[in-house]
Symmetry: C2
Subunit: 207 residues, 2 copies
């Protein structure tokens, strides 16, 4: 692509770094921005910069947060006794969208996957155990993807928690085995939370 | 969509204002940026803001420019005697990409389209006539889309230029009638520039 403006070339190149955005799409977006008011475009640019610069990860649940403690952990209306363990921020959002869960979260930051070189130590598992030790957590819901890696993770965490008076459950298999949690529709996700199982039942199901 | 961070919600909403970007895609892009270094994301945000704030429109050809006069108008290697008239900045880029044209441009900023309420006065036609008057322009190539509106625009401009010693040509109809110039492949576009016609021939073709 030949540009007669370095300003535009630079903006196009930056957009084209985003996943799924090719040079042609990047150019289309930049030319769209060119037609907007400078103030509006500045809002866009600053929203992006500020988001990355100011975002924090909640010191309790590792969810993204505007402050040291996230709005979910801080909410007095939410049930402290129940923690939903998920792989990622996206999963928190997916479950929040169902408006069916009133407990708290714990974001692992991934899933145990030896093939990808991800072991338990790279995930936020230690801090989960610490929360179970320190808090009045009565139930840990394992809401990880129903895959082999998910099962490994569930098994590993349940072993780590077995000496504490906490019930470990898993979300119901409304989601097809091998499916990704974040792509489940809200109804399925909500139902699989409501129909969650004690871990023993889950492990038996697999047999 | 439920967000636990206003920073993220704001960034997602800004992305979702872009054409063709829905909320889900916007979230995917924001979560991608979240994984990048803050400095990199700042570069992105600033490239966008700076682009819109600092961009100018060339005082001669109305192309986007980083300065008062664009890099094409300023280039001493380019032929002053030949001006290619296009509808938009995108068309300049499409033709520049062919690397087959060594003259200058004139960006109309649209096309005469009574149905859309766009008359000659809303377009950069007056400044084109002024350039023809003042400069040593020997040829004006009309490289507008081969549509009814394009033909109307060609006809209108050719009438405005008829008293000046300038040859008006049109790009060859390599592009299907009704097709949009900017979507033509580079080969077709390059060839249609090389095989451009004097306006008389073009008007006869239509009969
Ligand atoms: Zn939190
Ligand atoms: Zn120029």
């Amino acid at each position: 692509m030949v540009f007669s403006s370095a300003l535009i070339e630079n903006a196009v190149n930056e957009f084209a770094k985003l996943p799924g955005i090719g040079k042609k799409t990047a150019l289309r977006l930049v030319l769209h921005l060119l037609k907007q008011e400078p103030g509006q475009v500045e809002n866009f640019g600053e929203a992006i910069t500020r988001m990355r610069k100011q975002i924090q990860f909640c010191k309790y649940c590792h969810n993204v947060s505007d402050e040291e403690v996230c709005s979910i952990c801080k909410a007095p209306s939410r049930n402290n006794g129940i923690v939903c363990v998920v792989e990622s921020i996206r999963d928190v959002m997916a479950i929040e969208n169902t408006q069916q869960f009133n407990g708290k979260y714990h974001v692992l930051g991934g899933i145990i996957s030896p093939i990808d070189g991800i072991g338990p130590d790279q995930l936020n598992i230690y801090s989960l155990v610490e929360r179970v030790k320190a808090d009045e957590i009565k139930e840990v819901i394992m809401a990880v993807s129903p895959t082999i890696e998910g099962d490994t993770t569930i098994y590993y965490i349940s072993k780590k928690l077995k000496d504490y008076p906490v019930k470990v459950t898993t979300i119901a298999r409304g989601i097809a085995f091998g499916g990704e949690l974040e792509y489940a529709d809200e109804m399925t996700l909500a139902r699989s939370l409501t129909n969650r199982l004690p871990l023993e039942n889950y492990l038996q199901q697999g047999k």
